[in-house]
């Protein structure tokens, strides 16, 4: 856990995100029909999901650790990762919806990818409600850890497997090529991959700050 108190990766996150903001708007992008300049949204929409995935994976990791060790800190880390992940989830949805408005014509056109994303969002809202429905701390921690591990593979199936099997407008799904196909000279990767790392680190940073606040609260409430 020493990692979360170090500074270098937070600096890296800030530098990378600033770089993607500037480079994302200024560098050359391929000119494509329909997409035009909205293709730059790729640098902001996809990294949100990457950031979400990063903190959700960490959350599952800490849920597993909690079930093995039973330490309260692990539960706190897990819930704060989910909380942060949900914010990025919403941001991913919103950026996606804005993009859909300009390319597909509607904010919400009932595309399988969008519907799956909405269902998976419900899945995690249910997790938060489950947490609130149990008063006893250890029981809450245990049951929500179990549900979190249970929900994660289903979220993966919903977001990344099912939409691939149906007709979807979303790139990379339903027979559509992903952006790797359009971007022949791989110019966009120069911005996209740093954006993945940058936003993931930002998400992690937010989660660690929230975790540390929770930890302080927890220690203050402790009876010695």
């Amino acid at each position: 856990m020493k990692f979360i108190y170090q500074t270098w990766w937070k600096l890296l996150a800030v530098i990378l995100v600033f770089y993607t903001m500037i480079a994302g708007f200024l560098l050359h992008v391929p000119t494509l029909p329909i997409l035009h300049e909205t293709i730059r949204n790729l640098y902001f929409h996809v990294p949100m999901w990457m950031a979400m995935l990063t903190v959700f994976v960490i959350s599952v990791w800490y849920s597993v650790l909690y079930l093995i060790t039973g330490k309260e800190e692990h539960d706190l880390a897990s819930i704060e990762c989910v909380n942060t992940g949900l914010v990025f989830y919403l941001l991913g949805l919103i950026t996606g919806m804005m993009w859909a408005k300009y390319t597909w014509g509607e904010f919400w056109s009932g595309d399988p990818k969008q519907n799956s994303a909405a269902i998976a969002f419900l899945l995690y809202c249910a997790y938060l409600i489950l947490r609130n429905s149990i008063d006893e701390e250890q029981k809450r921690a245990k049951i929500s850890a179990i549900y979190n591990i249970f929900a994660f593979p289903i979220m993966i199936v919903l977001l990344f497997v099912l939409p691939r099997m149906t007709v979807s407008l979303h790139p990379g799904n339903g027979g559509n090529p992903a952006f790797g196909k359009y971007d022949l000279d791989s110019n966009m990767r120069v911005v996209l991959y740093p954006a993945f790392i940058g936003w993931s680190l930002i998400a992690l940073w937010i989660a660690t700050i929230r975790y540390r606040i929770r930890l302080i609260e927890y220690k203050r409430n402790e009876i010695n």
Binding site: A126, S133, I143, I146, I149, V157
Partner: protein, 227 residues
């Protein structure tokens, strides 16, 4: 071989208990009959419903929604019904894997039977427009099996938390939506009498979801079972 032995005995006990009281089975059966009848009355307020162009789609969707709610009601009982002392007794004589496996198998049997019966009752009231009846039957059984694997684990989680009924619905619906969408799609194909091979991929995904759910249930139930 301990696990198989224990599972067998627990399963026998579940079936015997159900056979003696017939509570869950008859309760859910009555639930299905009442729901179907309410739907029948409600839809027939407008004359000529069965000759509407979208009749087949409505028939299929309505059936799955009825099955969905019947399944929630049937399987929610599997863990809520047992009282604390009896559970303590099971835990002292059997392993967690045997308990969850026996529950899953029992629910699979119960739901397959119930969904087939429900289909028969449903077809009595609403004329069945299905072309490929056997394939539709197969889809229905597959649906019953998938519902029971998912709901068993969810009901185990919900039974540990207070406020069970609501929680069961909230927790299970996001998980069950992809399953029911696949099922509706598959059963619509069966209804239209399309080529079987079109649905193989969907059957594969459904089986995949079932395997994932059973595997996670087996992995997670040992942590869940005792307070």
């Amino acid at each position: 071989m301990d696990l198989i032995n224990q599972t067998k005995h627990l399963l026998k006990k579940e079936i015997l208990l159900e056979w003696r009281s017939k509570y869950a089975f008859n309760g859910v059966l009555l639930y299905v009959v009442s729901t179907v009848f309410v739907c029948y009355m409600a839809f027939n307020l407008n004359l000529g419903f069965s000759s509407v162009k979208s009749y087949a789609i409505v028939w299929n969707t309505l059936f799955w929604i009825i099955i969905l709610f019947a399944a929630v009601n049937a399987i929610a009982k599997s863990f809520l019904q047992e009282n604390k002392n009896r559970q303590l007794y099971y835990y002292s004589i059997a392993g967690p894997h045997a308990i969850i496996l026996s529950k899953i198998i029992y629910n699979v049997l119960l739901m397959s039977l119930l969904s087939v019966l429900a289909l028969i009752i449903y077809s009595l009231f609403f004329t069945n427009p299905t072309n490929d009846t056997w394939y539709y039957f197969l889809t229905v059984v597959l649906g019953g099996v998938s519902f029971s694997t998912v709901f068993t684990m969810i009901s185990a989680i919900a039974s540990k938390a207070s406020n069970n009924g609501t929680l069961m619905a909230i927790l299970s619906f996001p998980v069950i939506i992809p399953v029911i969408l696949l099922l509706i799609r598959m059963s619509k194909r069966a209804m239209d009498g399309l080529e079987h091979s079109l649905s193989y991929q969907d059957i594969g995904v459904l089986m995949g979801i079932n395997v994932i759910v059973i595997a996670t249930s087996l992995l997670l139930f040992p942590f869940l079972w005792r307070d």
